[in-house]
């Protein structure tokens, strides 16, 4: 570690400490109601007690279940459809106008409609996540397939690759930087959508719901504790899951030096 990095690190840590101290000071000054601005100790306590009694884990599990189902559904639909759009002109002509009309509508605008149609509960949340995640997946895959160098296709064809081999050995690896960027972006959108949908279509469990519910009772400590959990989950999926997928595929294949989403 160079002296430069050590200095950056020290300054960073100092900033965080200073911000924490400033927060703590204003929380304890009594100028703001403690219900609105609980000291950090109480937030930490809320976090640990909710983890220990299992409720936070239950909330996190409920949210993850919804996000993974909706996201999985979006991948299951968006990936094949995107490939079909890239390969077959009629599919592209049918799907593209529809998706350009639907995409600018924020997924959360559908929440009230979906609540009326499907009732409160998991279905609404999962469908909202699906809606949010579908378009990045679809359009990235489509762009990826179209960006596969035609020379590769012709070369593979000339060497006798059939449609099956062409698809798995050329098109999918060639489109992978876009597909992985799409996965990443889809997940990011899913993560935002699930929190919003849980707040609006709250069932009994879920990190979004618990934050919104805590507001009714002025449990600001619970809100902040849930925010910490949400931030951690978002951070780790982004870094660990997608970072490692990227390293395992496109970097190794030499497709891209950095394909950030």
């Amino acid at each position: 570690m160079t002296a430069d990095r050590i200095r950056s690190l020290r300054r960073g840590v100092l900033t965080l400490l200073a911000v924490a101290a400033a927060y703590e000071a204003s929380a304890r000054s009594g100028y703001f109601a403690p219900a609105l601005m609980p000291p950090l100790g109480i937030v930490a306590q809320a976090l640990f007690s909710s983890i220990l009694d299992g409720s936070m884990l239950h909330h996190a599990a409920a949210t993850l279940y919804r996000v993974v189902s909706g996201f999985g559904l979006a991948v299951a639909v968006g990936l094949p459809l995107g490939v079909a759009m890239g390969r077959f002109r009629p599919v592209e002509r049918f799907v593209l106008p529809l998706s350009s009309a639907l995409m600018p509508i924020p997924s959360l605008a559908w929440v009230p409609v979906f609540i009326l149609w499907f009732g409160l509960g998991n279905t609404v949340t999962i469908l909202i996540v699906f809606y949010a995640a579908l378009f990045p997946m679809l359009l990235n895959t489509w762009t990826g397939v179209r960006s596969v160098n035609p020379i590769w296709l012709r070369a593979a064809g000339a060497m006798g690759a059939d449609e099956h081999a062409l698809f798995w050995k050329v098109i999918i690896p060639g489109a992978s930087p876009f597909i992985i960027a799409g996965l990443r972006q889809s997940f990011l959108r899913s993560w935002i959508a699930v929190i919003g949908a849980e707040m609006l279509a709250g069932s009994d469990w879920g990190l979004g719901w618990v934050i919104f519910d805590a507001k009714e009772f002025l449990d600001t400590d619970v809100m902040l504790a849930s925010l910490v959990v949400i931030g951690c989950i978002g951070f780790f999926t982004e870094r660990l899951v997608f970072g490692s997928i990227e390293r395992a595929t496109i970097y190794r294949w030499g497709m891209a030096h950095s394909a950030k989403g």
Binding site: G12, L36, P104, P106, L108, V111, W117, Q185, G196, E238
Partner: protein, 284 residues
């Protein structure tokens, strides 16, 4: 499309394909009419399916209104001024929140890019705040600022500031050291350096950041309006209509949202993007 353009398109699309939905030149050679017919066909098919389901009475008409009903509601609400009022308030909120975010975000991003001290201080804060979905802050902001416009605008500004900060910071850092040194060697002072070298060099990134920030603001604004109990606004219109099972009002509201979204896409995002790509070549 020349191969060069294609390369730009592909390179750029890697960064954010989604906020950029330029339909490829669908049949440039075809006439305008044929193009319109081709793009309209999917909507006709989906519309016909919708009508069939609505008229078959599989679902109660209240939950699944026919398109005529939605259109009639749309016209009625537009004529009596309700829908324009909601739309206007939403747009004002979007503009106010985004303007705040743009001012603060560009300033913070540039300072972070230029000063090592500012970077060291601000980067940890930005990287802690960014991965939390903006809406998760909503209840907290509602408690702190009370329900209403202030919360909605501040929240939208807060959320859309992150992509702006991040891109401005990257953009200023991406200005080549050698350009700075060349300009300095030719006697440029700090102000000239900033306005003639750093700003033009970082501008594509800054514009990209603004575009992403606006898209982000648009995506959460509707939900914020639902949560913040503002008196007017498209999000509130949809959410309020749920209480009375007015599905036609909700769908009319969503139609307006779609129109605004498309207008943002076609009038703001795409021109901005083409401008940056054409003017500066590639984004990276």
């Amino acid at each position: 499309m020349s191969s060069d353009e294609k390369a730009h398109y592909a390179e750029h699309a890697m960064h954010d394909v989604v906020d950029h939905l330029a339909p490829p030149q669908l049949g440039v050679d075809a006439g305008l009419f044929r193009r319109a017919a081709r793009n309209g066909l999917p909507f006709v098919v989906v519309g016909a399916l919708w009508e069939a389901v609505a008229h078959l009475g599989l679902f109660p008409a209240q939950f699944f209104p026919s398109l005529e009903t939605v259109a009639a509601t749309f016209v009625r609400l537009t004529l009596n001024g309700v829908l324009p009022h909601h739309a206007l308030d939403t747009l004002v909120r979007l503009t106010a929140g985004f303007a705040l975010a743009a001012l603060a975000g560009v300033a913070i991003g540039i300072v972070m890019g230029r000063s090592r001290l500012a970077e060291d201080i601000l980067l940890p804060l930005v990287s802690i705040g960014a991965p939390i979905p903006g809406l998760a802050y909503a209840p907290l902001f509602l408690l702190w600022f009370g329900p209403g416009d202030v919360s909605a605008v501040v929240l939208v500004a807060f959320v859309s500031a992150f992509p702006i900060i991040y891109n401005c910071w990257t953009g200023v850092k991406a200005v080549k050291e050698i350009w700075l040194r060349a300009a300095q060697a030719m006697g440029a002072d700090d102000r000239r350096l900033f306005s003639h070298v750093i700003m033009p060099g970082a501008l594509p990134y800054i514009l990209t950041g603004l575009r992403l920030g606006l898209a982000q603001a648009w995506r959460i604004l509707v939900a914020v309006e639902m949560l913040a109990a503002v008196p007017w606004g498209l999000g509130w219109l949809i959410f309020g209509a749920q209480e009375f099972l007015n599905t036609d009002v909700m769908l009319a509201g969503i139609a307006v949202i779609a129109v605004i979204g498309l207008a943002l896409e076609k009038l703001v995002f795409q021109p901005l993007e083409e401008f940056t790509v054409v003017r500066w070549g590639m984004m990276s």
